[in-house]
Protein backbone atom coordinates (compact mmCIF):
# COMPACT_ATOMS: atom_id res chain seq x y z
CA UNK A 1 0.00 0.00 0.00
CA UNK A 2 1.41 3.39 -0.85
CA UNK A 3 1.98 5.90 1.95
CA UNK A 4 -0.75 8.08 0.44
CA UNK A 5 -3.33 5.29 0.54
CA UNK A 6 -2.25 4.26 4.02
CA UNK A 7 -2.67 7.79 5.34
CA UNK A 8 -6.01 8.32 3.62
CA UNK A 9 -7.27 4.97 4.83
CA UNK A 10 -6.17 5.81 8.36
CA UNK A 11 -8.13 9.05 8.34
CA UNK A 12 -11.27 7.45 6.95
CA UNK A 13 -10.98 4.61 9.39
CA UNK A 14 -10.61 6.94 12.36
CA UNK A 15 -13.55 9.03 11.18
CA UNK A 16 -15.75 5.98 10.72
CA UNK A 17 -14.87 4.78 14.18
CA UNK A 18 -15.17 8.05 16.04
CA UNK A 19 -17.64 9.89 13.81
CA UNK A 20 -16.17 13.14 14.99
CA UNK A 21 -16.93 15.32 12.03
CA UNK A 22 -19.57 13.94 9.69
CA UNK A 23 -22.63 13.76 11.94
CA UNK A 24 -21.91 17.23 13.31
CA UNK A 25 -21.57 18.64 9.81
CA UNK A 26 -24.83 17.09 8.65
CA UNK A 27 -26.77 18.15 11.72
CA UNK A 28 -25.36 21.64 11.48
CA UNK A 29 -26.44 21.94 7.86
CA UNK A 30 -29.98 20.76 8.51
CA UNK A 31 -30.37 23.03 11.53
CA UNK A 32 -29.06 25.91 9.48
CA UNK A 33 -31.71 25.21 6.83
CA UNK A 34 -34.40 25.44 9.47
CA UNK A 35 -32.93 28.67 10.79
CA UNK A 36 -32.97 30.12 7.29
CA UNK A 37 -36.57 29.07 6.83
CA UNK A 38 -37.50 31.20 9.79
CA UNK A 39 -34.89 33.87 9.28
CA UNK A 40 -36.05 34.58 5.75
CA UNK A 41 -39.66 33.64 6.47
CA UNK A 42 -39.75 31.54 3.33
CA UNK A 43 -40.93 28.00 2.72
CA UNK A 44 -39.81 27.91 -0.86
CA UNK A 45 -36.52 28.96 -2.33
CA UNK A 46 -35.22 29.23 -5.83
CA UNK A 47 -32.58 31.05 -7.82
CA UNK A 48 -30.34 33.35 -5.86
CA UNK A 49 -32.03 32.80 -2.51
CA UNK A 50 -31.68 29.04 -2.84
CA UNK A 51 -28.01 29.40 -3.72
CA UNK A 52 -27.61 32.00 -1.01
CA UNK A 53 -28.82 29.59 1.65
CA UNK A 54 -27.26 26.38 0.41
CA UNK A 55 -23.74 27.53 -0.42
CA UNK A 56 -22.90 29.43 2.78
CA UNK A 57 -24.42 26.63 4.87
CA UNK A 58 -22.19 24.05 3.20
CA UNK A 59 -19.24 26.38 3.65
CA UNK A 60 -19.78 26.82 7.39
CA UNK A 61 -20.33 23.10 7.81
CA UNK A 62 -17.06 22.52 6.00
CA UNK A 63 -15.29 24.75 8.53
CA UNK A 64 -16.27 22.27 11.22
CA UNK A 65 -14.46 19.50 9.39
CA UNK A 66 -11.48 21.69 8.64
CA UNK A 67 -11.07 22.54 12.30
CA UNK A 68 -10.99 18.85 13.17
CA UNK A 69 -8.78 17.76 10.32
CA UNK A 70 -5.66 17.26 12.43
CA UNK A 71 -7.21 16.29 15.74
CA UNK A 72 -5.81 12.76 15.58
CA UNK A 73 -2.32 14.07 14.84
CA UNK A 74 -2.55 16.51 17.70
CA UNK A 75 -3.56 13.77 20.12
CA UNK A 76 -0.89 11.51 18.81
CA UNK A 77 1.71 14.10 19.66
CA UNK A 78 2.30 15.96 16.48
CA UNK A 79 3.45 15.01 13.06
CA UNK A 80 6.45 12.99 14.23
CA UNK A 81 5.29 9.72 12.73
CA UNK A 82 5.00 11.24 9.29
CA UNK A 83 8.14 13.30 9.60
CA UNK A 84 10.26 10.30 10.54
CA UNK A 85 9.08 8.33 7.55
CA UNK A 86 10.89 8.38 4.20
CA UNK A 87 8.05 10.09 2.38
CA UNK A 88 7.60 13.51 0.87
CA UNK A 89 5.64 15.90 3.07
CA UNK A 90 3.20 16.83 0.29
CA UNK A 91 1.94 13.23 0.49
CA UNK A 92 0.31 14.22 3.77
CA UNK A 93 -1.20 17.25 2.09
CA UNK A 94 -2.65 15.04 -0.65
CA UNK A 95 -4.00 12.53 1.87
CA UNK A 96 -5.62 15.13 4.13
CA UNK A 97 -7.08 17.11 1.26
CA UNK A 98 -8.51 13.93 -0.27
CA UNK A 99 -10.06 12.98 3.06
CA UNK A 100 -11.61 16.42 3.29
CA UNK A 101 -13.07 16.14 -0.21
CA UNK A 102 -14.60 12.80 0.75
CA UNK A 103 -16.16 14.26 3.91
CA UNK A 104 -17.59 17.14 1.92
CA UNK A 105 -19.05 14.85 -0.73
CA UNK A 106 -20.69 12.72 1.95
CA UNK A 107 -22.04 15.86 3.62
CA UNK A 108 -23.49 17.07 0.34
CA UNK A 109 -25.03 13.70 -0.42
CA UNK A 110 -26.97 14.12 2.82
CA UNK A 111 -27.57 17.84 2.99
CA UNK A 112 -28.44 18.69 -0.60
CA UNK A 113 -31.33 16.22 -0.96
CA UNK A 114 -32.70 17.45 2.36
CA UNK A 115 -32.39 21.02 1.11
CA UNK A 116 -34.27 20.04 -2.03
CA UNK A 117 -36.91 18.39 0.10
CA UNK A 118 -37.32 21.46 2.26
CA UNK A 119 -37.22 24.22 -0.28
CA UNK A 120 -36.95 23.30 -3.94
CA UNK A 121 -39.70 22.85 -6.48
CA UNK A 122 -37.69 20.89 -8.97
CA UNK A 123 -34.50 18.95 -8.57
CA UNK A 124 -33.47 19.08 -12.20
CA UNK A 125 -30.69 21.56 -11.64
CA UNK A 126 -29.08 19.48 -8.94
CA UNK A 127 -27.00 17.21 -11.10
CA UNK A 128 -25.04 19.95 -12.86
CA UNK A 129 -24.88 21.73 -9.51
CA UNK A 130 -23.23 18.63 -8.08
CA UNK A 131 -20.38 19.15 -10.52
CA UNK A 132 -20.00 22.73 -9.33
CA UNK A 133 -19.98 21.54 -5.74
CA UNK A 134 -17.36 18.92 -6.48
CA UNK A 135 -14.99 21.48 -7.94
CA UNK A 136 -15.69 23.80 -5.04
CA UNK A 137 -14.95 20.95 -2.62
CA UNK A 138 -11.52 20.48 -4.15
CA UNK A 139 -10.69 24.16 -3.77
CA UNK A 140 -12.01 24.13 -0.22
CA UNK A 141 -9.94 21.08 0.57
CA UNK A 142 -6.75 22.58 -0.82
CA UNK A 143 -7.00 25.87 1.03
CA UNK A 144 -8.57 24.27 4.07
CA UNK A 145 -5.75 21.78 4.51
CA UNK A 146 -3.05 24.44 4.30
CA UNK A 147 -4.76 26.80 6.72
CA UNK A 148 -5.72 23.97 9.05
CA UNK A 149 -2.09 22.91 9.22
CA UNK A 150 -1.04 26.46 10.08
CA UNK A 151 -3.77 26.82 12.69
CA UNK A 152 -3.08 23.42 14.28
CA UNK A 153 0.38 24.52 15.31
CA UNK A 154 -0.79 27.80 16.77
CA UNK A 155 -2.35 28.65 20.07
CA UNK A 156 -5.62 30.08 18.77
CA UNK A 157 -6.31 27.13 16.53
CA UNK A 158 -10.11 26.97 16.64
CA UNK A 159 -10.47 30.64 15.92
CA UNK A 160 -7.67 31.15 13.48
CA UNK A 161 -8.69 28.69 10.79
CA UNK A 162 -12.18 30.09 10.11
CA UNK A 163 -10.88 33.64 10.43
CA UNK A 164 -8.29 33.19 7.70
CA UNK A 165 -10.42 30.90 5.56
CA UNK A 166 -13.53 33.01 5.19
CA UNK A 167 -11.98 35.68 2.97
CA UNK A 168 -9.92 33.05 1.16
CA UNK A 169 -13.01 31.06 0.22
CA UNK A 170 -15.03 33.97 -1.13
CA UNK A 171 -14.16 33.27 -4.79
CA UNK A 172 -15.56 29.75 -4.29
CA UNK A 173 -18.75 31.23 -2.84
CA UNK A 174 -19.00 33.65 -5.74
CA UNK A 175 -18.67 30.84 -8.26
CA UNK A 176 -20.88 28.29 -6.50
CA UNK A 177 -23.61 30.77 -5.63
CA UNK A 178 -23.37 32.33 -9.06
CA UNK A 179 -23.87 28.96 -10.70
CA UNK A 180 -26.52 27.92 -8.20
CA UNK A 181 -28.54 31.04 -8.87
CA UNK A 182 -29.01 29.90 -12.45
CA UNK A 183 -29.16 26.15 -11.93
CA UNK A 184 -31.72 26.36 -9.16
CA UNK A 185 -33.86 28.97 -10.91
CA UNK A 186 -37.62 28.71 -10.61
CA UNK A 187 -38.28 27.91 -14.24
CA UNK A 188 -35.68 25.15 -14.46
CA UNK A 189 -31.89 25.21 -14.79
CA UNK A 190 -30.34 27.88 -16.92
CA UNK A 191 -26.83 27.23 -18.15
CA UNK A 192 -26.07 30.89 -18.73
CA UNK A 193 -22.62 31.27 -17.27
CA UNK A 194 -22.03 27.67 -16.31
CA UNK A 195 -18.76 27.50 -18.22
CA UNK A 196 -17.48 30.68 -16.61
CA UNK A 197 -18.07 29.39 -13.11
CA UNK A 198 -16.55 26.02 -13.89
CA UNK A 199 -13.49 27.77 -15.26
CA UNK A 200 -13.15 30.02 -12.20
CA UNK A 201 -13.46 27.03 -9.88
CA UNK A 202 -10.99 25.05 -11.93
CA UNK A 203 -8.48 27.90 -11.83
CA UNK A 204 -8.88 28.33 -8.08
CA UNK A 205 -8.42 24.60 -7.52
CA UNK A 206 -5.32 24.50 -9.66
CA UNK A 207 -3.70 27.49 -8.00
CA UNK A 208 -4.27 26.36 -4.45
CA UNK A 209 -3.47 22.72 -5.01
CA UNK A 210 -0.15 23.95 -6.35
CA UNK A 211 0.40 26.35 -3.47
CA UNK A 212 -0.44 23.66 -0.93
CA UNK A 213 1.76 21.09 -2.57
CA UNK A 214 4.70 23.45 -2.88
CA UNK A 215 4.60 24.92 0.63
CA UNK A 216 3.70 21.84 2.66
CA UNK A 217 7.32 20.89 3.19
CA UNK A 218 7.87 24.11 5.08
CA UNK A 219 4.75 23.71 7.15
CA UNK A 220 5.84 20.37 8.52
CA UNK A 221 9.37 21.30 9.53
CA UNK A 222 10.34 21.45 13.19
Amino acid sequence: MSPFSALLRKDLRVELRTLRSLPAMALFAVSAFVIFRFGLDREQLDGELAAGVLVPTLLFAALLAINRLFVAEREEGGFDLIRLAPIDRPVLFAAKASALVIYLVVLELIAVPIFALFFLDSASGLLPFALILLLANIGLAATGTVISTIATMSSARDLLAPLILLPLLIPLVIAAAGAGEHLLAAGGPDYGRFGTWLALLGLYDLVFLLVGYATFDYLLED
Binding site: P3, L7, E76, D80, L84, A85, P86, E221
Partner: protein, 223 residues
Amino acid sequence: MMERTAAVESRPASGSSQPAIELRRLRRDFGERTALGGISARLEPGESLAVLGPNGSGKSTLLRILAGLLRPSGGEISVLGCALPKEAHRLRGRVGYLGHAPLLYRDLSPRENLGLAAALHRLDPAASDSRIEMLLDAVGMSARGDDRVAELSAGMKQRIDICRAVLHEPDLLLLDEPDAHLDSEARVLVEPLVGPGNGRTRVVVSHDRESATAGAEVVLELR
Protein backbone atom coordinates in the same frame (compact mmCIF):
# COMPACT_ATOMS: atom_id res chain seq x y z
CA MET B 1 23.01 33.12 30.48
CA MET B 2 23.74 29.64 31.67
CA GLU B 3 25.92 27.48 29.47
CA ARG B 4 24.75 23.91 29.25
CA THR B 5 27.95 21.96 29.33
CA ALA B 6 28.43 18.27 29.16
CA ALA B 7 30.88 15.83 30.62
CA VAL B 8 31.79 13.00 28.33
CA GLU B 9 33.47 9.79 29.26
CA SER B 10 34.25 7.29 26.55
CA ARG B 11 36.70 4.88 25.10
CA PRO B 12 39.26 6.41 22.76
CA ALA B 13 37.87 6.61 19.26
CA SER B 14 38.86 3.84 16.89
CA GLY B 15 39.29 6.37 14.13
CA SER B 16 39.07 4.27 11.00
CA SER B 17 35.35 3.68 10.47
CA GLN B 18 32.88 6.48 10.04
CA PRO B 19 31.18 7.23 13.36
CA ALA B 20 27.45 6.65 13.65
CA ILE B 21 27.05 9.96 15.43
CA GLU B 22 29.43 12.88 15.64
CA LEU B 23 28.59 16.05 17.52
CA ARG B 24 30.73 19.13 17.74
CA ARG B 25 29.56 22.01 19.89
CA LEU B 26 25.92 21.22 19.22
CA ARG B 27 23.68 24.04 20.39
CA ARG B 28 19.94 24.51 20.52
CA ASP B 29 18.20 27.68 21.64
CA PHE B 30 14.54 28.29 22.21
CA GLY B 31 14.26 32.04 21.83
CA GLU B 32 16.38 33.51 24.60
CA ARG B 33 16.79 30.22 26.46
CA THR B 34 19.68 27.88 25.65
CA ALA B 35 18.51 24.30 26.02
CA LEU B 36 21.71 22.70 24.77
CA GLY B 37 25.03 24.48 24.81
CA GLY B 38 28.17 23.20 23.16
CA ILE B 39 27.65 19.43 23.29
CA SER B 40 30.34 17.29 21.71
CA ALA B 41 30.36 13.52 21.46
CA ARG B 42 31.15 10.64 19.18
CA LEU B 43 29.51 7.25 18.83
CA GLU B 44 30.83 4.35 16.78
CA PRO B 45 28.51 1.88 15.04
CA GLY B 46 27.41 -0.92 17.33
CA GLU B 47 27.94 1.14 20.47
CA SER B 48 25.48 2.60 22.93
CA LEU B 49 25.38 6.17 24.16
CA ALA B 50 23.70 6.91 27.46
CA VAL B 51 22.38 10.43 27.96
CA LEU B 52 21.91 11.33 31.59
CA GLY B 53 20.89 14.45 33.42
CA PRO B 54 18.20 16.01 35.56
CA ASN B 55 14.80 17.06 34.28
CA GLY B 56 14.95 19.94 31.87
CA SER B 57 18.59 19.44 30.99
CA GLY B 58 17.76 19.00 27.32
CA LYS B 59 17.96 15.20 26.98
CA SER B 60 14.78 14.86 24.95
CA THR B 61 15.74 17.90 22.88
CA LEU B 62 19.03 16.23 22.01
CA LEU B 63 17.25 13.07 20.96
CA ARG B 64 14.85 14.96 18.72
CA ILE B 65 17.73 16.72 17.03
CA LEU B 66 19.46 13.39 16.40
CA ALA B 67 16.22 12.06 14.90
CA GLY B 68 16.06 14.98 12.48
CA LEU B 69 12.87 16.23 14.10
CA LEU B 70 14.34 19.41 15.48
CA ARG B 71 16.77 21.80 13.89
CA PRO B 72 19.98 22.58 15.78
CA SER B 73 20.82 26.23 16.38
CA GLY B 74 24.53 25.75 15.94
CA GLY B 75 27.44 23.36 15.83
CA GLU B 76 28.22 20.41 13.59
CA ILE B 77 26.13 17.29 13.69
CA SER B 78 26.50 14.15 11.66
CA VAL B 79 24.14 11.21 12.13
CA LEU B 80 24.65 8.05 10.06
CA GLY B 81 26.74 10.08 7.68
CA CYS B 82 24.09 12.77 7.21
CA ALA B 83 24.99 16.32 8.10
CA LEU B 84 22.14 17.92 10.00
CA PRO B 85 20.13 19.98 9.36
CA LYS B 86 21.02 20.16 5.69
CA GLU B 87 20.79 16.46 4.92
CA ALA B 88 18.02 15.64 7.38
CA HIS B 89 15.86 14.26 4.59
CA ARG B 90 18.45 11.56 3.93
CA LEU B 91 18.07 10.38 7.48
CA ARG B 92 14.37 9.65 7.17
CA GLY B 93 13.44 6.03 7.64
CA ARG B 94 16.87 5.02 8.91
CA VAL B 95 16.28 5.90 12.53
CA GLY B 96 14.08 4.17 15.08
CA TYR B 97 12.74 6.83 17.40
CA LEU B 98 11.01 6.20 20.69
CA GLY B 99 9.83 9.48 22.12
CA HIS B 100 8.32 10.61 25.36
CA ALA B 101 4.80 9.91 24.18
CA PRO B 102 3.89 6.95 21.99
CA LEU B 103 3.44 7.75 18.31
CA LEU B 104 0.25 5.77 18.06
CA TYR B 105 -3.22 6.74 16.91
CA ARG B 106 -5.46 5.99 19.84
CA ASP B 107 -8.49 5.05 17.74
CA LEU B 108 -6.62 2.40 15.78
CA SER B 109 -5.50 -1.00 16.99
CA PRO B 110 -1.84 -1.97 17.48
CA ARG B 111 -1.96 -4.00 14.29
CA GLU B 112 -3.42 -1.10 12.35
CA ASN B 113 -0.88 1.32 13.80
CA LEU B 114 2.00 -0.95 12.92
CA GLY B 115 0.52 -1.56 9.49
CA LEU B 116 0.42 2.19 8.94
CA ALA B 117 4.01 2.57 10.11
CA ALA B 118 5.06 -0.22 7.74
CA ALA B 119 3.31 1.45 4.81
CA LEU B 120 4.86 4.82 5.66
CA HIS B 121 8.30 3.20 5.64
CA ARG B 122 7.45 1.55 2.34
CA LEU B 123 8.04 -1.96 3.66
CA ASP B 124 6.97 -4.91 1.57
CA PRO B 125 3.45 -5.75 2.81
CA ALA B 126 3.82 -9.52 3.08
CA ALA B 127 7.15 -9.36 4.87
CA SER B 128 6.00 -6.59 7.19
CA ASP B 129 2.82 -8.44 8.11
CA SER B 130 4.78 -11.40 9.42
CA ARG B 131 7.26 -9.09 11.12
CA ILE B 132 4.42 -7.27 12.86
CA GLU B 133 3.09 -10.57 14.19
CA MET B 134 6.55 -11.60 15.30
CA LEU B 135 7.06 -8.33 17.15
CA LEU B 136 3.66 -8.35 18.82
CA ASP B 137 4.33 -11.87 19.96
CA ALA B 138 7.79 -10.95 21.22
CA VAL B 139 6.37 -8.25 23.50
CA GLY B 140 3.42 -10.36 24.53
CA MET B 141 0.73 -8.24 22.88
CA SER B 142 -0.59 -10.62 20.23
CA ALA B 143 -3.82 -11.19 22.09
CA ARG B 144 -4.60 -7.47 22.36
CA GLY B 145 -3.41 -6.63 18.87
CA ASP B 146 -6.87 -5.69 17.68
CA ASP B 147 -8.04 -3.56 20.58
CA ARG B 148 -8.04 0.22 20.27
CA VAL B 149 -4.83 1.74 21.58
CA ALA B 150 -6.94 4.02 23.78
CA GLU B 151 -8.01 0.95 25.74
CA LEU B 152 -4.47 -0.14 26.52
CA SER B 153 -2.46 0.69 29.59
CA ALA B 154 0.60 2.91 29.47
CA GLY B 155 2.90 -0.08 29.67
CA MET B 156 1.13 -1.78 26.80
CA LYS B 157 1.30 1.35 24.69
CA GLN B 158 5.00 1.54 25.43
CA ARG B 159 5.51 -2.01 24.23
CA ILE B 160 3.60 -1.33 21.00
CA ASP B 161 5.57 1.86 20.49
CA ILE B 162 8.78 -0.12 20.84
CA CYS B 163 7.53 -2.46 18.12
CA ARG B 164 6.83 0.55 15.96
CA ALA B 165 10.30 1.96 16.55
CA VAL B 166 12.10 -1.22 15.51
CA LEU B 167 9.64 -2.31 12.81
CA HIS B 168 11.69 -1.07 9.88
CA GLU B 169 14.98 -2.44 11.24
CA PRO B 170 16.64 0.94 11.61
CA ASP B 171 20.39 1.55 11.62
CA LEU B 172 20.14 3.67 14.75
CA LEU B 173 17.87 3.53 17.77
CA LEU B 174 17.00 6.70 19.64
CA LEU B 175 15.23 5.78 22.83
CA ASP B 176 13.74 8.23 25.29
CA GLU B 177 13.22 6.30 28.53
CA PRO B 178 12.53 2.92 26.90
CA ASP B 179 11.70 1.33 30.25
CA ALA B 180 9.07 3.91 31.16
CA HIS B 181 5.85 2.32 32.44
CA LEU B 182 7.28 -1.17 32.06
CA ASP B 183 7.24 -3.69 34.87
CA SER B 184 10.18 -6.06 35.28
CA GLU B 185 8.52 -8.73 33.14
CA ALA B 186 7.95 -6.36 30.27
CA ARG B 187 11.50 -5.08 30.52
CA VAL B 188 12.76 -8.57 29.94
CA LEU B 189 10.51 -8.90 26.90
CA VAL B 190 11.71 -5.73 25.21
CA GLU B 191 15.38 -6.21 26.04
CA PRO B 192 16.12 -8.27 22.90
CA LEU B 193 14.50 -5.59 20.75
CA VAL B 194 16.05 -2.42 22.11
CA GLY B 195 18.74 -3.55 24.52
CA PRO B 196 22.47 -3.18 24.02
CA GLY B 197 24.46 -5.67 21.99
CA ASN B 198 23.58 -7.40 18.76
CA GLY B 199 25.56 -4.76 16.92
CA ARG B 200 22.84 -2.21 17.61
CA THR B 201 23.79 1.44 17.62
CA ARG B 202 21.71 3.18 20.27
CA VAL B 203 21.27 6.42 22.08
CA VAL B 204 19.37 5.98 25.33
CA VAL B 205 17.99 8.79 27.44
CA SER B 206 17.34 7.73 30.95
CA HIS B 207 16.77 8.75 34.52
CA ASP B 208 18.04 5.41 35.72
CA ARG B 209 21.76 5.93 35.88
CA GLU B 210 22.67 2.33 36.59
CA SER B 211 20.80 0.52 33.88
CA ALA B 212 21.62 3.17 31.30
CA THR B 213 25.35 3.18 31.92
CA ALA B 214 25.43 -0.59 32.20
CA GLY B 215 25.27 -1.27 28.49
CA ALA B 216 26.81 1.98 27.31
CA GLU B 217 30.22 2.57 25.85
CA VAL B 218 29.78 6.34 25.87
CA VAL B 219 28.09 8.40 28.55
CA LEU B 220 26.94 11.97 28.04
CA GLU B 221 26.01 13.93 31.10
CA LEU B 222 23.92 17.04 30.58
CA ARG B 223 23.46 19.70 33.22
